[in-house]
């Protein structure tokens, strides 16, 4: 077998291992199902009435694409926590002493985490529809939107793989992750229109890639004017994956567990 064939086979073995683990970690389910669900209810019923979103029939139509993007970003935590756990338990040492492809542990990890993102995406869309969200675009556009969201989630898994490898412990990865996600997702077009923000933050929200992804999702789900956002969003995702996967694999080669 060629080294590429080995890399693919090893990645499949590691991905299978991680998929087997998902149903056996019920505590993890809370973080990627119940938690985003509570965010939806909070924003729709508590904050929603006070937020003006001109051009949308209801706040929920504005909110859902944004909050789903945030949920996909949070999906990265599953990657970070899983990886930190493997590091601290010495499993990464075992993997690194095996004659397997150096990219497989991370590639298998992030691939399997697409599955948890599919679960939370399904929960989010179901809840969104229950609280009054309406898709107003063609089924093809909706499918394209879902694919974009999963691609974005995959990119964030790679970012969080780097977070875990840099942090060195589950707790540090957690803290670092929150510091990354909160400013990025809230200072974006996800929850309120950037026009309503102070100038500096509005400026940041407009160049924030999260806004690009959110606007693209809105275009694909509720037909909001997208401009170049859909292709921009895809480019962002691909770019993030390329940069962070390279960095993560490099980092992994040197990973030293405690």
């Amino acid at each position: 077998m060629s080294s590429l064939a080995y890399a693919v086979a090893d990645t499949a073995v590691v991905a299978r291992r991680n998929l087997l683990r998902i149903p056996r970690q019920p505590d993890l389910w809370v973080s990627f199902t119940i938690q985003p669900l509570m965010f939806v209810l909070l924003f729709v019923y508590v904050f929603g009435g006070a937020i003006q979103t001109p051009g949308y029939p209801d706040y929920v139509d504005f909110l859902m694409p944004g909050i789903i993007v945030q949920t996909m970003a949070f999906g990265g935590f599953v990657t970070a926590i899983g990886l930190s756990d493997d590091l601290s338990k010495g499993l990464i040492d075992r993997f690194r002493s095996l004659p397997m492809a150096r990219s497989a542990v991370l590639a298998g990890r992030t691939l399997a985490d697409v599955a948890t993102n599919v679960v939370s995406l399904t929960v989010m869309i179901a809840v969104g529809v229950l609280v009054g969200f309406n898709f107003t675009t063609s089924p093809l556009e909706v499918v394209a939107g879902i694919a974009l969201l999963l691609l974005f989630g995959y990119a964030f898994s790679w970012i969080f793989a780097c977070v875990a490898l840099l942090a060195g412990s589950v707790e540090a990865a957690n803290a670092l992750g929150f510091m990354l996600i909160f400013p990025l997702t809230f200072a974006s077009s996800a929850f309120v229109p950037p026009e309503s923000m102070p100038a500096a933050i509005e400026w940041f929200a407009n160049i924030n890639p999260i806004s690009t992804i959110v606007d693209a999702t809105r275009a694909l789900f509720v037909g909001a004017p997208a401009g170049n956002d859909v292709w921009g969003a895809v480019l962002w995702c691909v770019g993030l994956i390329a940069v962070f996967s390279t960095f993560a694999v490099q980092r992994y080669r040197r990973a030293v567990s405690s």
């Binding site: 077998m1 090893d10 073995v13 291992r17 683990r21 056996r24 338990k89 040492d93 002493s97 004659p99």
Partner: protein, 323 residues
């Protein structure tokens, strides 16, 4: 002699402000066990991590199965099995799934991996637990599973980093027997331990490590002979007979024996007389004996005389320098 299975020359490794390895040399011929004996933080784990390609050395060379651990790292990994200080098994997978995964990552193929997993579960008395998640296992069972994982590909060189730390005596004995069986089948083992009896029982040769240096190397007997030969230990019934005992035994010793708190210890020189002679002399002098024995030096004595401190230190936070 065949090419050594493990060959280390001038290996150095430092971390920030500590020198974990200060230029060590090691050699293990094929089919033997080399014991690395030393206290926590001596550098044992660092040596294992370098030899298993997990850590690059700063200086020096290390060859495993004839391959350089830096230049041929990938090839080395196909020749080794590693069982670490902390049982590195996936708690959320069953014993069977753990071993099957490792087999597939050694590229044994799907069916052979499954077959090998079943075989190892049976050998390590884990068949009944094989379909349970490893998080339900006892410490001893996890260790066994971890060792089984190291053996999946029948690697010619095995690295066992404190394999029995924290195990109950029965599990320890079982593990020892397994290791001996692997060596009988031709496997070379590098074993780190802080237990002297373990090195004594298993290792063909022992390298004593302290502060990143090999401070002594040899067979268990060679190391013991370094601290001198047998000693006679005598416990008196009555403290007031100390002088009488010293007088009685003085002709048997090279130097005049010393006695404290009713306990007399002296090197035994068989040319002058053995324990029977000692008993006869004490009897003739009417000295009452509570206990008398000939004590052979243990590796504990070796360790103490080499390093000036005991081998098993109190449980400080287990901070191997490499960690």
């Amino acid at each position: 002699m065949a090419e050594p299975a493990i060959e280390v020359e001038g290996l150095r490794k430092g971390f920030k402000d500590v020198t974990a390895l200060d230029g060590i040399d090691l050699v293990a011929p094929p089919g033997t066990i080399l014991g690395l004996l030393g206290p926590n933080g001596a550098g044992k784990t660092t040596a294992v991590r370098i030899l298993t390609t997990l850590l690059p050395p700063d200086e020096g060379t290390a060859r495993v199965a004839g391959l350089d651990v830096v230049k041929d790292a990938a090839a080395v990994r196909a020749q080794i099995g590693l069982s670490g200080q902390y049982a590195a098994v996936d708690e959320n997978l069953t014993g069977f799934e753990n071993l099957e995964m490792v087999g597939r990552l050694y590229h044994l193929g799907r069916a052979p991996s499954r077959e090998r997993a079943r075989e190892l579960l049976e050998r390590f008395s884990l068949t009944d637990a094989g379909d349970r998640q490893a998080k339900t296992y006892s410490g001893g069972m996890r260790r066994r599973l971890d060792l089984a994982a190291a053996l999946v590909a029948r690697p010619p060189v095995l690295f066992l980093d404190e394999p029995t730390t924290g195990l109950d005596p029965v599990s320890r004995l079982l593990l020892w027997e397994t290791i001996e069986a692997r060596v009988a089948a031709g496997t070379t083992v590098l074993l780190t331990t802080q237990y002297l009896d373990e090195a004594d029982r298993l290792a063909d040769r022992i390298a004593v490590i302290d502060h990143g240096n090999v401070i002594a190397e040899g067979t268990s007997d060679e190391l013991k002979s370094r601290v001198g030969g047998e000693r006679l230990e005598l416990t008196l019934k009555n403290y007031d007979q100390e002088t009488a005992a010293i007088e009685a035994l003085a002709p048997l010793a090279d130097e005049r024996p010393k006695c404290e708190h009713g306990i007399l210890v002296m090197p035994l020189n068989r040319a002058r007389g053995d324990i029977a002679e000692a008993v006869r002399r004490l009897d003739a002098a009417s000295v009452d004996i509570a206990d008398i024995a000939v004590r052979r030096p243990t590796l504990d004595d070796v360790f103490f005389s080499l390093t000036g401190h005991a081998a098993e230190q109190p449980e400080e936070a287990d901070e191997e320098v490499a960690a």
